[in-house]
């Protein structure tokens, strides 16, 4: 059985992969190393983990507006997440996802998404599909 969670499209596209879930906001400028995709913010729940190739799930963006460019750099270096799911989008992540063409949805109840599960993002329809949940 799969479960569908409805939200809102931010950037179109489709991606399927493993969810990496953060309970805290993420700052792509200063919080993540663009060359490696590793979260470097001290004390962050994902500190030391790599966001590359993951469906990255977090409540909302934070920090400098330069974060949009940092996401763009990760995409160019092949270190970006394959999709982004937010509870509430703000402009830094929205613009970052748009210019980097990373599928992105928000207004998603992210508490329903467990870390490490397989997940599909259908951004055009603003929805997320969790595979194999009860």
């Amino acid at each position: 059985m799969s479960q569908i969670i409805e939200g809102r499209k931010v950037m179109k596209g489709r991606a399927e992969g493993e969810a990496l879930v953060s309970s805290d906001g993420i700052s792509f400028y200063g919080g993540v190393e663009p060359e490696t995709g590793i979260v470097v913010e001290k004390g962050h729940p994902l500190e030391g983990q790599c966001i590359t190739g993951k469906v990255l799930v977090f409540p909302t963006g934070k920090g400098s507006t330069v974060g949009s460019y940092a996401l763009y750099q990760m995409k160019k270096l092949g270190k970006a997440p394959i999709a982004i799911i937010n509870k509430e989008i703000e402009t830094i992540v929205a613009v970052g996802a748009i210019i980097s063409e990373i599928p992105c949805v928000d207004k998603i109840d992210i508490e329903k998404i467990k870390n490490g599960i397989k997940i599909t993002v259908e951004a055009d329809e603003g929805k997320v599909i969790i595979e194999g949940s009860e």
Partner: protein, 391 residues
Amino acid sequence: MELAQEEQDMLDGKYGEAVKQSMNILVSLGEIFGAKRLINIASVQIAGVSYHNLGEAGLDYLSDLARDGKVRVLTTLNPAGMDMENWETLGISPEFAEKQIKVIDAFKRMDVIATCTCTPYFIGNNPHFGEHVAWSESSAVCYANSVLGLKTNREGGPSALASALTGKTPEFGFHLDENRQAEITIEVKAKIQTIPDFGALGYAIGKKIGKKIAFIKGIEKASVEQLKSFCASIATYGGTALFHMEGITPNKTDIPQEFVEVSQEDIDNAKKDLNDDDAEIDIVAIGCPHLSLKEVEDVARMLDGKKVKKEMWVCVARPVKQTAENMGLIKIIEDSGAKIACDTCMAVAPLKGRFKGLATDSAKGCFYGRGKNSFKTKFATIHELIEEATK
């Protein structure tokens, strides 16, 4: 969102790649934030200019847009990571300089006015009351909305650039009059006279009410320079994009019943917070935000015939420096040993590790000095700072 034919053509790529990309950003943001349409803007101020902040990613992005993008409205730039002419004197490495020059060149290819300043309103980016603009730079956004009566959201670098390349912004937030009304009244019961007083007031209000729109009572008078400093401080410590000040700012608003008092003790505590007891000062910097011509004149008068014994930076927009030069003021300042820094400031230049303690009259400068450069800070009037630097 409903698009006019020209806007739809922009989105469809009929005006080139840079315009298409920009329109995509604006339409997406408009849809996310509930805008019904795009509106024309009178000017743009772009942040994200220092290579220190942009990195390779930002430089790549700008270079891509510069292939076929040209700005459609008056567009000015925020400070860069260095003085574009005098970077060697200010101790910037050639490697950094090379990258910074590439950033500015990309903006120039897009016909941006490449004078780098956080006070665009001092160099002719000065639309009239009520006009819509798309500005970034938190202090300038607050000044534009509150003091000039322009209408802008707090744009980030990429969205401001997108607006410059299309001449449009989505209509939401501070573009709509219903979102510009005061939400809380602030009764100031303290002596607010000097630049640091205004900085401390911004700090105190920002900490008390965050982003709420304030109607501020109890300020008898405020100069342009004091308002500039206040805007920088309240935007830094509260995230404020708009306030009203009774008898001083031009926007109309209802006066909220709910009120908060700012006492002399609040101001004194703010100053205490911005002063580190153990600060060993090895750089004195003024001009955050960049100095007005009047301030440059005051500084020259105070430095006349004196020698500074510490590194001292006077940060100012290049056109203001050029005017001051014609007046003989720059020579007086440079004869004292102080350095003029154009296009940049102590908040965006890569200074970490070069200095330990920053003395400044800017509450905003203290925040970035501490956060980005790990400096200890001293917060005082320009007069006191010059005494510090020349003693």
